[in-house]
Symmetry: none
Subunit: 236 residues, 2 copies
DNA sequence: TAGTGGTCTAGACCACTTT
DNA sequence: AAGTGGTCTAGACCACTAT
């Protein structure tokens, strides 16, 4: 393994383990150069790449610090929260609050294109990044299209992963809004008082019809959505 | 300007102008080092950053080549708020709060890839839908790339429309978050008390570099972002 | 004033691809 | 064999921050 890569791994583990929490100072270029017996330019590269990845913040004259957790995810891809958290070298875990069959309310029935009163599968899961809740996922699933939904362990596999496995997605719609969370949501997100939250409403289709409807709620202070676009002709 | 940055600009122009089309070989590290009278490490940095940005592909032992055009279609178009309001058959109007030249703060300078203290153009505009504020647009513009920015009437044409006319956009990045508006923003949005707002931070590039940085704030109660995504066939 | 990150140099060796 | 990119060194000067 390249030397700069070894240093990156060392720093990754400090950050991912929580030994260095947010804003904690990271070893300086000179310190790393001495510690790993490399030139400053090599130590520098490790730090620079971590900064490019958003894991640390570098401040001229001051030093390098562990970046605050503020997730940024591609808003164009259909996202899997677990993969995203792990891609930032953070710990991921989930807690299942609700997982059961219910009778569809009029609202849910309309969104899933079913008749009101018909059974639907309902789940509520909190997703954690380094033990901090970053998303509450409230989801309704069409039981006719995903028969095995209730018998999965959603602390091991995300609903998104399972649904992708059993039902190829053909279409999705999103709505993004800013809301004040309900007391129930505050509890699930472990917010002591309400703060603005980013809400994504998503419906997903397969060839057979609406598969699932999800309401994803993220605390504004812990999450943002990002995207990057390139246009066709005269690229730069 | 830093030397590696000068070299990047030179390469940008070759690629954006079409002088070097897709797959065209890019000058090697050694060639650039000689041409610009810099060390190889400095020439290398310019090429490496272009590769990180996805503009060129580097191939060990072979060389560096202009990257093929990305066909990344987004379900979120670059939006023009005036067109959107009018497409809903509602009245549109705008009010200009600020339109002037300022010295770039460190933050603004970084986002526009300029030096701090350099002049930038700054505008703040509230956009109304049926006389209700739906967006505050705070915008900073690179004055070198858009010389006529300050002399437009932004109650007739939106900054977005004007910028599209004078500078073909090649790239954009978005960040979407939920925030609590500042008192100043509440005033501009005519909110009697703060409510969660949807914020879109957008940077836009042309071939010559960062053209503009916009912060768009929408009251949560009056706005949501929607998108529809089809898989398997490219659709907006 | 000492420490930090930002930039840059002029070399070096290596693995790889092309000719 | 010649050229390319990938890695690395041991210095250097600068601007900035903290004390």
């Amino acid at each position: 393994m390249a030397k700069f890569s070894t240093i990156k791994q060392h720093l990754y583990s400090k950050i991912a383990s929580g030994e260095w929490p947010e804003h904690h100072p990271v070893s300086s270029e000179n310190a790393l150069a001495q510690q790993f017996k490399v030139s400053r330019m090599t130590a520098r590269r490790a730090l620079q790449e971590l900064a490019d990845e958003g894991l640390v913040i570098r401040s001229k004259g001051s030093g390098t610090y562990v970046a605050p957790i503020k997730s940024q995810t591609s808003f164009m891809a259909i996202r899997n929260i677990a993969d995203e958290v792990r891609s930032r070298n953070h710990d991921y875990r989930a807690h299942v609050h609700v997982l059961r069959k219910e009778a569809a309310t009029a609202h849910v029935a309309e969104l899933l294109q079913l008749d009101a009163g018909k059974p639907v599968y309902h789940s509520v899961i909190t997703h954690f990044e380094n033990d901090l809740p970053v998303q509450v996922e409230e989801r309704y699933v069409n039981p006719e299209l995903v028969k095995g939904y209730l018998s999965q362990n959603y602390e091991e596999i995300t609903p998104h992963e399972y649904l992708c496995e059993v039902s190829p997605l053909t279409e999705a719609s999103h709505e993004i809004e800013a809301i004040t969370p309900s007391p129930q949501l505050c509890q699930w997100l472990k917010l002591s008082k309400p703060e603005p939250c980013l809400r994504i409403n998503r419906r997903t289709w397969s060839a057979a019809g609406v598969v699932t409807f999800a309401v994803l709620t993220h605390p504004g202070s812990r999450f943002s959505l990002g995207g990057h676009l390139h246009f066709g002709s005269a690229r730069a």
